[in-house]
Symmetry: C2
Subunit: 145 residues, 2 copies
DNA sequence: CTCTGTGCAAAGGATTTGCACTACG
DNA sequence: CGTAGTGCAAATCCTTTGCACAGAG
């Protein structure tokens, strides 16, 4: 699904944390591991459950705080999916692309990207330092049409 | 900012409501008017304040319910901007494109779209009926670099 | 007139503090 | 060892629900 293996991505995230001076606690490792395993598109509480399958002692607060931290670092991103709690998606080198069905909230991820050029163009036009992007198509999936 | 004038868009939305069998109440008109005036990128509570500048009697609940209704009709869309409350953005014929600064949460909207073709492609590949899309570039604005 | 829409207040969730304790580096 | 990180519980904030009343068609 992602272009990099889980292990590679885990290392990338750990490196990113270190570089910014954040500590590599076991809680954070467990949370990141759980997040990579489930592939994202999950709520904070949903992630907590996955985390608890690995380590019961990690608290809900740590999950919330770690998600916030990863968001700041540009590694994940909260999005609306249906209503209720925020869903977090993994960013692969700043990119993410998916289709969302407005009927059943199904998510289909896809790779691609003719957007490098557009980013370049916008960066120049607005003097904006582009770090990544999110592309979301919405509509009706096969079953919901 | 938008390709259509406010009046035109107001009429479009009112027409869309009528066609779906929803009533054109004065509260809804006021809320839509306020939303178009401020250009979107606003929370439910923020919008309530704008609405109250026009009509003090409109309640918070009506704003929430109207936003939900407009979302269902595909006229607006909730997104996360930073954390906290949902922000609603206006969709222009199902499209929206913006840059968000991760430093100060500033939003720069832009028109464009080389994405029609990609939508077409994805629609065929996944048998998905594409109704619209959201493109979000994020990074650092001029002041926050 | 009828039935959708509204407003209020209270409930329900999700997320955020405050603070003492733990453990990474 | 010192400071960033953690966990708990309480607080806060956002959003939804239940119900009686008002107003659009």
């Amino acid at each position: 699904m992602n272009t990099n293996s889980l292990d590679t991505r885990l290392e990338d995230i750990q490196t990113a944390l270190k570089q910014k001076g954040y500590r590599l606690t076991s809680s954070r490792q467990t949370i990141v591991e759980a997040l990579l395993t489930c592939g994202g598109h999950i709520t904070a509480d949903g992630l907590l459950e996955v985390v608890h399958e690995i380590d019961q002692t990690v608290g809900r607060m740590t999950v919330y705080r770690t998600l916030e931290l990863l968001s700041e670092l540009g590694l994940i991103r909260p999005v609306y999916q249906g209503t209720g709690a925020a869903h977090y998606i993994l960013l692969d080198r700043g990119h993410h692309h998916h289709l969302i069905c407005s009927g059943c909230d199904a998510v289909i991820e896809f790779e691609e990207c003719g957007l490098q050029e557009m980013g370049q163009l916008l960066a120049e036009r607005f003097n904006f330092m582009v770090e990544g992007h999110l592309v979301e198509f919405y509509g009706r999936c096969q079953n919901c049409q």
